[in-house]
Every structure is written in structure tokens, then in C-alpha cells.
Symmetry: C2
Subunit: 125 residues, 2 copies
């Protein structure tokens, strides 16, 4: 449930749902990632999706997490619709079963410099 303050904040910009994860040994991580890519691609409520694997930072600095997933929503309503959707719930149960540790961070994005390639192409030279 979102507080009134949270809803007001979310109105400021896209809402990002950031998940850091470390998977249990033997879990088919690539299958889980492919599943999440499908989920994000298929569901209209998801405005954006990117993910990554960290093999660069010191393990201690990243506190053992190996993967990051960032979902973007244009509104709190879209995020709520996604969260409650049966397709997401089914995926989330699968995903949770494979997780050794997880960190979730939800935030209205304050965009200072857009990094998207399309935005860069559209910017004056």
C-alpha cells in the first residue's frame, strides 16, 4: 500500500523498481532472466526494463549480490497493476524460490542526464 506522500512523489517522474539478487547454487539463472525479459516485454504496464551482472566491483562493496534488475513504470498505478497481475505473481514465486538474498529499492527517478541512445541521437550535436 502506498502512502499519500509516496503517491505525490511518484507523480514527479517514472517509478523505478530496483532488485539486487544473489541466486542459490544450481539455480538456472539464465532461464529466470529470460523469463523476466519475457514478462517485461509482454506486459504493457512495464515501461522499461534493463538488467545486469556485476563481475567488476569488489564482492564486499556489492555485498555479494551478483545481478541487478531495474523495471520502470510511468505511474504508481501501473506498478500496482503489474505487481498484482497473475503472470507476475506466478513468475515472482518461481524467482523467490531461487533467491539466496535480495534487496528491493523503489524510487521515483530524478533524471538529471538522460542516457538513452535515442535521447542522445535526438539531442543537438
Amino acid at each position: 500500500m502506498l502512502s499519500r506522500k509516496a503517491v505525490v512523489q511518484l507523480a514527479m517522474g517514472d517509478l523505478k523498481h530496483l532488485v539486487l539478487a544473489k541466486f542459490k547454487e544450481g539455480v538456472p539463472v539464465e532461464d529466470l532472466i529470460k523469463g523476466m525479459e519475457r514478462l517485461a516485454t509482454d506486459m504493457e504496464a512495464v515501461k522499461g526494463f534493463e538488467w545486469g551482472q556485476d563481475s567488476v566491483s569488489e564482492v564486499a562493496l556489492r555485498q555479494g549480490y551478483t545481478h541487478v534488475f531495474i523495471l520502470t513504470f510511468k505511474s504508481a498505478e501501473d506498478f500496482a497493476a503489474f505487481s498484482a497481475h497473475p503472470t507476475h505473481l506466478e513468475f515472482a514465486a518461481n524467482f523467490a524460490a531461487g533467491i539466496e538474498s535480495i534487496l528491493v529499492f523503489d524510487f521515483p527517478s530524478v533524471l538529471i542526464k538522460p542516457s538513452n541512445a535515442a535521447a542522445a541521437a535526438a539531442a543537438p550535436a
Copy 2:
């Protein structure tokens, strides 16, 4: 120092430098954020920058972190140039002094659905 494997991976896409932070009590957080916005805006090596504050997720789920900062670089070279730049080093020392806890996660971004407003505007209706 980046491994050869890391450099190869970074060639795949933008490199993102993600920082989760919790500040010490009494630290002028808004000033630090404004300083980071200035740094990211001024330095050409920084391709993109966004930040956010989480007042939505359960504190336990976000493990006490309150702020996220995401810097985007188009290459490992640009990231290295930024990291070693005196302006960044001066800022980083200031920033580190105000930090109670920090998590750093560096990853080549695998972009499945671009979420940028400019990209959305450019997409066919």
C-alpha cells in the same frame, strides 16, 4: 583495475555505476545531491545520471538504504577517466565522509525495453 573479461563484457553496452547509500545523521544530504548533479552535468565522461529516494519499500527490504545514484558511461575508459578525475576524487572524499553505509554495483546494462521519455516520443504510435 578491470579484468580482460570485464572489459569484453563492458563492450556489450553502457556501463552503469549504481550506488546505494544511507547518510549519517546531520549530513546536508541535499547539498551532496546537488554536488553530484553538478558533477554529472559538468563532466563529459558521464553519459547519464539519475537518482532517487526510497520512501516506499519496507526498510528491511531495502536494508536501510535511503538513496540511489545511477551514473551511466558509454565505455570502461570513460568510467576510468571519471573515477580518476580530480573533481570526482574531491567530491568522493566529501561524499564518503557523510556515508553511514554504502553498496556499489557496476554492471554492463542489458537494455530490454528502453524507458526514456525521448525514446518513447520517438517510437511509432
